[in-house]
């Protein structure tokens, strides 16, 4: 009897959460999946069951190119945010000794995030442009005699902006993991004769893995779905999956956009599953 009551009360307790998930996650997702099988013309979406949206999407070389391009952005951004994020977190966790300074410096990292990310992105444009600050400076210093064109409206610009925007997502969880590392483990490693690098490799990196995994999930999912950075920083010259979806929505091709969204969701879920196989992030939580 007592068992039944507790069972009932736990069902009761999870109901609000379940309801929220159902209304804001499950139902919208199901709608997207259903619409992805519908037909459409210029101005209407027509309830139907067709596979054309998927067969065109998966059969088109454009899709593969776009996915390759998006994965390239995600991979490059991941490499750079990870190396910068790890370094910053390491510095904060192990080199800064006082808690006050750790907090002060950590806050300092977050200050840029008080502005809108669109603004942070757009401010690169006048800086990197043909007649921008960087090119003018380089020319005035006599380092180059022609403005460097690759700086703006290029893959370089896209990755630069992504790294700038998302490095903090790496710093925070890695820093968090590192702060939980028992300092006596590091001392033990040193006592056992490990060099600084060996300590890093055998103690710090393995123990920071959950943080690295969480940061990676953040960065990769955000970059995979991004469209505005790609559009603005590549000058509309490169495509990403998110941009493709946004274009399809703009042209009222909702079923095609839904199909693209479903495929993107599956891709990202596969990547995340892979990451979770490698690292058990439950330890972190």
């Amino acid at each position: 009897m007592a068992f039944d009551t507790s069972k009932r009360s736990s069902y009761f307790l999870i109901t609000p959460m379940a309801a929220i998930f159902a209304v804001f996650l499950v139902i919208p997702l199901l709608t997207i999946v259903i619409v992805s099988f519908w037909d459409y013309d210029e101005y209407r979406i027509l309830p139907d069951f067709i596979l054309e949206n998927y067969s065109y999407l998966l059969g088109s070389s454009v899709t593969w190119k776009i996915y390759l391009n998006t994965l390239k952005y995600a991979a490059l951004t991941w490499v750079f945010t990870l190396s910068i994020g790890f370094t910053v977190a390491y510095f904060l966790a192990f080199h800064v000794r006082s808690l006050t300074w750790q907090i002060v410096l950590f806050m300092l990292c977050t200050i840029p995030f008080w502005t809108s990310n669109i603004i942070r992105m757009i401010s690169w444009i006048p800086f990197l442009g043909r007649n921008g600050l960087l090119n003018s400076a380089l020319i005035n210093l006599g380092i180059v005699d022609q403005p460097l064109e690759f700086l703006l409206f290029s893959d370089f610009a896209v990755v630069l902006a992504d790294v700038h925007l998302y490095t903090l997502f790496m710093v925070v969880p890695i820093f968090n993991s590192m702060m939980r590392i028992d300092r006596s483990l590091i001392e033990a490693a040193r006592d056992a004769g490990a060099s600084g690098f060996e300590t890093l490799k055998s103690v710090i990196v393995p123990l920071s893995k959950p943080g690295i995994a969480i940061g990676s999930i953040f960065v990769i999912t955000v970059v995979m779905g991004d469209f505005i950075t790609v559009r603005l920083m590549s000058g509309g010259q490169s495509a990403s999956v998110g941009l493709q979806i946004s274009n399809e929505i703009g042209l009222l091709q909702y079923p095609a956009a839904a199909a693209s969204a479903v495929v993107l969701l599956i891709t990202v879920l596969l990547i995340v599953t892979g990451l979770l196989r490698l690292v058990d992030i439950r330890k972190e939580l």
Binding site: Y43, V62, K65, I125, R130, F153, Q237, L252
Partner: protein, 437 residues
């Protein structure tokens, strides 16, 4: 200099008898007295309760001007609510939510798709006093008797239907008009004359290797493909039956040319919004690109040289108009007719002309413009004094001449109208290939 025709706000409650126009404004206005006359003498079928009428107009941003709604309230007494949407959303809403609007402000190519859906009603032109002033361009497609009819969705081809309940477009003008034309213009390439040393004469110059890495094209498929077609035709790479309605093969060839150019590094960027095009040009990232007239004005207002370059192949034109929702009847319908007739009566026309667009009834607009304004915007004459925008900003200094010249020169050399193709889906897919290439 604007001429304001002010009317007593509650003139309609005075049983509509004592209508007086007060004219104030520039000294140079000789036609002013006639101008005020242009809005008197509307049919007074409605009674006092016209003031309670609210008409909901929705459309694309260009002609959804709040000043127009204010002026309607002042001159006609009823309320006009404006909603601005992008052209795709406008088209969708006109078809799927027919009761959500009273007046649709749409482009002609949208009309071609929307009107057959039966959510709008044609207008009886005999009820419109100012119908006679509408430019011939919208009646039979010919600005002057010997001008050629351009390709694409030319407004007159979708401007009339066969009867009051018909949704079939008529091949010749009838009594039943689908849209009353309001705003239109001829688009071409914008260039930075200070950064380009040679004269630009052809659409083909967009892909000239001389401008490698300094060209741009607009990334709105239905319009971008037209600009691309103008370029390919000028280069002699592709010949078209009708640029406004290409075959799959023509689309494929056009996109192939564009992809080659993109791979060779011809383009600096593609733009999608008005301000992007302004920034690309003003910063010098781009020296030649597809552009819209007000964007050129915006670059110039920063003190940067920018020319809206007329080209020998002609312009790509677009036009919009206002039409009635099917559900309108009774008092609201009368108010809508009143509004549409008023639209043609000149005040709005002058306002649009001053923005660099064209009014559909140039004669009536003339009465609301100074001689200098008319000469600059419409006749291609040198400006005698400063030319002001409708909100009073200096757009051009004395001595300036409008790029492309007079109304007849610009609208007389339209090569193609914005349109929607039968192969639209295919075109959009190919366009995406171009962007992803």
């Amino acid at each position: 200099m604007t001429i304001e025709t002010k009317k007593s706000k509650n003139l309609l409650s005075d049983a509509g008898v004592s209508r007086r126009g007060f004219v104030k404004g520039a000294a140079a206005v000789t036609g002013a007295a006639i101008g005020s006359g242009a809005i008197t003498g509307f049919p007074t079928i409605w009674a006092q309760n016209i003031k309670n009428v609210t008409l909901r107009q929705f459309g694309t941003g260009v002609s959804n001007i709040n000043a127009v709604a204010d002026k309607v309230k002042e001159d006609l007494g009823f309320t006009l609510q404006m909603t601005a949407l992008d052209s795709d959303a406008v088209a969708q809403r006109a078809v799927t939510q027919p009761n959500s609007f009273d007046i649709a402000d749409i482009e002609y190519w949208i009309c071609k798709k929307v009107f057959p859906a039966g959510t709008m009603q044609p207008m009886d032109t005999t009820k419109l006093k100012n119908y006679q002033y509408i430019s011939k361009l919208f009646i039979d497609g010919k600005l002057t008797p010997d001008s050629e009819i351009a390709q694409g969705t030319a407004p007159h081809t979708v401007g009339f239907v066969e009867g009051a309940d018909s949704t079939t477009f008529a091949s010749a003008p009838t009594q039943w008009m689908t849209l009353i034309p309001t705003i239109y213009n001829a688009d071409t390439l914008g260039i930075r004359p200070d950064l380009i040393s040679r004269p630009i004469t052809s659409w083909a110059d967009l892909l000239d290797p001389e401008f490698k890495g300094k060209a741009s094209i607009l990334n709105i498929p239905s319009i971008g493909i037209m600009d691309a077609a103008m370029v390919c035709e000028a280069m002699g790479e592709v010949t078209y039956g009708d640029k406004g309605n290409m075959t799959q093969e023509e689309i494929d060839k056009t996109i192939a040319v564009m992809i080659d150019a993109k791979k060779a590094g011809q383009f600096r960027a593609f733009w999608k919004s008005f301000d992007e095009s302004v920034n690309l040009m003003a910063s010098g990232e781009v020296v030649i690109q597809s552009m819209w007239s007000p964007a050129v004005a915006a670059v110039r207002s920063k003190g940067i040289a920018c020319t809206y370059q007329p080209l020998k192949e002609g312009y790509r034109a677009w036009g919009g108009g206002i039409g009635l929702a099917k559900h309108l009847s009774g008092l609201e319908l009368e108010a809508a007719y009143e509004y549409i007739d008023w639209y043609l009566s000149g005040w709005v026309g002058a306002y649009l002309n001053r923005q660099g667009y064209y009014s559909a009834a140039p004669e009536t607009a003339k009465k609301f413009m100074s001689e200098d304004e008319w000469g600059f915007w419409m006749e291609g004459k040198e400006a005698q004094g400063d030319i002001l925008s409708p909100d009073g900003k200096v757009m051009e200094k004395a001595g300036a001449v409008r790029d492309g010249g007079s109304y007849e020169e610009r609208m007389g050399s339209v090569a193609c109208w914005n349109s929607v193709m039968d192969e639209n889906k295919h075109m959009v897919r190919k366009w995406n290939e171009f962007i992803a290439a």
